[in-house]
Symmetry: C2
Subunit: 217 residues, 2 copies
């Protein structure tokens, strides 16, 4: 049985490892976990001891197979709880993350399997992120950013790469929700903002900053 803290480190290492072969640095971990590098060094020793990470001093860390499996099980729980909060309790997608941050550490396999069934075996969380299965396996979808779509193309909004409440609330106000159809009319030469036609009914100007964080297919 691992502590909340250990589970959070594993999850953080997992996220920081995405899209890179190199090990995750001590400083990056300290940033993400809101601790100091010294504390991270300490914890890395313990996680290595337990066989959850590959760690050589000064070289950064990667997850072992077991470490990755555990990280994905925590992510599974996090995302399933987010679905529960959004779909059953009517929380906004900007509110679910902080609560799931606590719920993800509840230790009961039966609970999570029953929750999964209760929710109808969802494949994605409220932000469009895929939900790992009970074995700790997760499909990897590769989506493009709206900012990379060429003029004239029509796409579907499938996710976000920024999860802050502020960003998500901004999307709410703009009426941008998962699954909506976006036709890229024009990309401004001046500020790279994107003019999109939403669900064939209305036109919206999306800043480059926002477009960069919208995932589409």
């Amino acid at each position: 049985m691992y502590s909340f803290t250990e589970e959070n480190y594993l999850k953080t290492i997992f996220y920081l490892s995405i899209g890179t072969q190199e090990g995750v640095s001590t400083n990056a971990l300290a940033d993400s976990t809101n601790t100091r590098a010294a504390s991270v060094s300490d914890m890395l020793k313990r996680l290595a001891e337990k066989g959850l990470i590959n760690y050589q001093k000064y070289r950064g860390v990667t997850l072992t197979e077991e470490g990755e499996r555990l990280a994905l099980l925590v992510i599974r729980k996090h995302r399933l709880w987010e679905v529960f909060l959004a779909e059953k309790l009517q929380f906004g997608w900007d509110e679910v993350h902080v609560i799931a941050e606590e719920l993800e550490h509840i230790r009961s396999e039966r609970l999570i399997e029953k929750l999964d069934a209760f929710l109808g075996y969802p494949k994605f969380d409220p932000h469009g992120d895929p939900i790992p299965n009970a074995a700790g396996e997760m499909p990897r979808f590769i989506y493009r950013k709206l900012s990379e779509i060429v003029e004239g193309t029509t796409v579907i909004m499938t996710g976000v790469s920024e999860h802050s409440p502020a960003f998500l609330q901004h999307l709410d106000k703009a009426g941008l929700t998962l699954g909506c159809q976006l036709k890229v009319n024009e990309i401004s030469d001046f500020d790279k903002s994107v003019s999109v036609l939403i669900d064939n009914v209305r036109t919206l100007f999306v800043s480059h900053e926002v477009a960069k964080n919208l995932l589409v297919k």
Copy 2:
């Protein structure tokens, strides 16, 4: 914000205080929390410091108004989660307690209010125990034990005073569920076991040990 441990102590003091004016003893707390008396003494000092208990060395403890309010809020969360687990996730009443023991510490007022609404504002948990309101107030019902009911009387099963999985599973096997009608036919002179007519359809012999732990009205 109080720690899981502090919340558990408050809850335990609350339960051990039921039906007595005297303070709860250090040893009783050590028993209930699976710790040693020395650890309890330490914790009592800290809880007194924070104004949650009335404590004088060697004299036992009682909850302050604030301590009791907090204890009841934890109990509220515990019981609401138990209802969720039993009604929505189909857990047996013998399984919900251990899981609720973890869920009761999730800190989000909005979460618990929304959960309450989702569950339809239940008044009782799966064991027949009343659910405190958001202000930390709980109605106190006084039920009798089946073992105290005189022959010929008909009652309704409203709760249990023993919550162990073994006992609850025993009731399941016997077909004794909350709300069933029990007519006391005869109480044995030999072993005080009770012969009851259940829902007017079948007769069952209930040991004194079981009858003592069945609450009826």
